[in-house]
């Protein structure tokens, strides 16, 4: 088991390296540089700045320098927030992003799972069609459309909730961004859960469970739920990636001081190190999350346990 975990984590290193390399060179290929927009900078000062941040060196040399620092866990200084390192920015922003992302994930799992199960048990009934229609809508509306609409309805028209801001993570400030972030995932998980529950309910071992005279509650909770959850579990990896990318947009729209917001600002300003740092951080996070999901899969499915 430990050996398996170790091999799995080692095999993530090449993927990360590719991610780092691609981001690094794509960032540099984008036109402009970090100090382009500063107006009052004389050519000499600018040259000094570039020298200080080693931007005058060859690209490969910078790449090597970056990797060396990275191997010690140092994501470098931010070009824009002069006095702060990327590590610091992430440390400040991540708790905020984690809060809305984690809540969105939890909501997606619980609500999506519950809706999917109910739809499956009432297959082809009114509830089923209702849930599936809602899910279709949830999947097809992008979050940058959903969020402004939700703001319009709940903040502007009804005045129930604030239109944005963080306010130290107060509940009322969390509701809309978490909803907007979770909506497509709730929808996707509901569909997934419904499909897999319906399939499992047709399995021969469910027929056996019924033939034993078990009540429908026991049949579903003990016999069907666990196998039906497996496809949902596999989707949690992609779901985490979806929530992370979604959070970049959502944090921007709601003015939430999470990593996603730094990322957008940094990308616009060519703040190379911040962009790199966020990409790497989230890359590692997604890989770790997928790894955890795989471990959990082994717990839920005895046949998938590594021998």
């Amino acid at each position: 088991m430990l050996r398996y975990a170790f091999i799995r984590l080692l095999s993530a290193i090449p993927a990360l390296l590719i991610l780092i390399t691609l981001t690094f060179f794509m960032m540099r290929a984008a036109p402009g540089g970090p100090f382009d927009r500063e107006r009052d900078v004389s050519p000499e000062v600018r040259a000094k700045l570039e020298q200080a941040y080693h931007l005058d060196e060859s690209l490969w040399k910078q790449y090597g320098r970056y990797l060396t620092a990275l191997s010690q866990g140092d994501l470098g200084p931010s070009f824009k927030y002069g006095d702060r390192s990327v590590n610091e920015l992430i440390a400040v922003g991540f708790p905020v992003s984690l809060k809305i992302g984690g809540l969105a994930m939890l909501l997606a799992l619980l609500l999506g799972g519950a809706l999917g199960i109910v739809a499956a048990l009432k297959q082809n009934g009114v509830i089923d069609y209702g849930v599936m229609t809602l899910a279709m809508v949830g999947i097809s509306i992008p979050n940058y459309v959903f969020a402004p609409l939700a703001i319009l309805l709940f903040a502007v028209t009804l005045g129930w909730l604030p239109a944005g801001g963080w306010n130290d993570g107060a509940l009322s400030n969390l509701v809309l961004p978490v909803l907007a972030l979770a909506a497509p995932q709730v929808a996707y998980i509901a569909r997934l859960m419904r499909g897999s529950m319906i399939e499992v309910l047709h399995a021969p071992y469910i027929r056996t469970a019924r033939a034993k005279g078990l009540s429908e509650r026991v049949v579903i909770l003990r016999h069907a739920l666990r196998p039906a959850l497996l496809p949902v579990l596999s989707y949690l990896g992609p779901a985490s990636a979806g929530i992370i990318t979604g959070s970049v947009v959502i944090e921007q729209i709601f003015g939430i001081p999470g990593i996603g917001r730094y990322f957008v600002t940094a990308a616009l300003n060519r703040d190379y190190t911040v962009v790199m740092g966020v990409v790497i951080f989230y890359g590692v996070l997604v890989i770790l999350f997928n790894f955890l999901v795989d471990l959990l899969y082994g717990v839920l499915d005895p046949r998938a346990r590594p021998q």
């Binding site: 027929r207 009540s215 026991v218 005895p302 046949r303």
Partner: protein, 322 residues
């Protein structure tokens, strides 16, 4: 009195392609302690008959008729009362032990839950009793096996587990739907022997569904031959095998491979294919493949003729004229 009395049972399924008639107007009885074999080609409605008795048919099914079990019509029981019949008074084992056990639950859980549900036993008690039942079906290391998952057991072992599971509550009736079909030949014989042994030990009445006449000859007292969802012939097993009356039974027996036969050359197959269950058939379902069929066979289903404990439904042959 007979333990089970199935009267005019019909099962049909509503599908997108039309109504599938799986079982039509089927009647049979089973006396206490008796073993009834139901034989027939695949698709002849054997499994759906069993599922109808236990009320485990798919949702698109419609059932008609009566299933009197110990004088009580199971088809009219409330869902709640039916739970007490399943697993407790009627046990069932299925064809494929590879898929019939839940791969996600330990063997012990799957056994013990029956006792927990029906008898209200504690899990600990139920586990202990499950271990004893595992011993009764000759699974070595029974207690240790309870901790295993189905995929860690061989096919034969799994079928033994299924049998143990079905017998935990000492049911009066055991329905075994092709219990050996999915197993290796050597294992088949062992499982069959086990069933015979347990039948005596537990005083079981048994319905054994099979498409293997050899299996039937070995185990059953009486047999019911089904075709196209209908009863073609019934009678004591020996008489039926040595002296078949119905053309379908005769064809079935003739098409049995024997050891002294060059299978490639001699094996007589029944010409034609079974009827599509979607078409509404008014005559005998076997008529299109029957050598003795004449025009009336295609128009009208023959009545079951009863004589000296045997029954046969055929226009062309008669039990009495023999």
């Amino acid at each position: 009195m007979s333990l089970l009395n199935v009267r005019n049972l019909s099962v049909s399924f509503n599908t997108a392609d039309g109504v599938v008639r799986a079982v039509t107007d089927l009647s049979f009885t089973l006396a206490t302690g008796e073993t009834l074999g139901i034989v027939g080609e695949s698709g002849s409605g054997k499994s759906q008959t069993a599922m109808a008795i236990l009320r485990l048919l798919a949702r698109n099914a419609a059932v008609d008729g009566e299933v009197l079990f110990d004088g009580q019509d199971l088809l009219r029981l409330s869902a709640q009362d039916m739970l007490k019949v399943r697993g407790q008074r009627i046990g069932m084992i299925f064809q494929d032990p590879m898929t019939a056990l839940n791969p996600h639950l330990r063997i012990g859980t799957q056994l013990a839950e029956v006792l927990v549900s029906h008898r209200g036993q504690s899990w600990q008690q139920a586990m202990a009793e499950s271990a004893r039942m595992m011993q009764a079906v000759h699974i070595p290391d029974a207690t240790a096996r309870l901790q295993h998952y189905p995929h860690e057991l061989s096919g034969g072992q799994r079928q033994r587990v299924m049998i143990a599971m079905a017998l935990l509550c000492r049911p009066q009736l055991l329905i075994a739907d092709e219990p050996t079909t999915a197993l290796d030949v050597t294992v088949q014989a062992q499982i069959l022997r086990l069933l015979v042994e347990l039948r005596r030990e537990f005083g079981l009445s048994l319905i054994l569904i099979t498409h293997d006449l050899g299996v039937m000859a070995e185990v059953c007292d009486r047999s019911l031959v089904m075709y196209g969802g209908r009863a073609m012939e019934q009678g004591p097993c020996r008489a039926l095998l040595t002296d078949p009356v119905h053309p379908y039974t005769r064809a079935l027996i003739a098409s049995r491979p024997r050891l002294d036969m060059d299978v490639e050359r001699d094996l007589p197959v029944i010409a034609g294919a079974p009827p599509s269950p979607i078409e509404r058939i008014f005559g005998c379902p076997f008529a299109p493949r029957c050598e003795l069929a004449f025009d009336r066979c295609n128009r009208q289903m023959p009545d079951l003729e009863t004589s000296a404990g045997r029954q046969c439904a055929c226009h062309a042959v008669s039990l009495c004229k023999k």
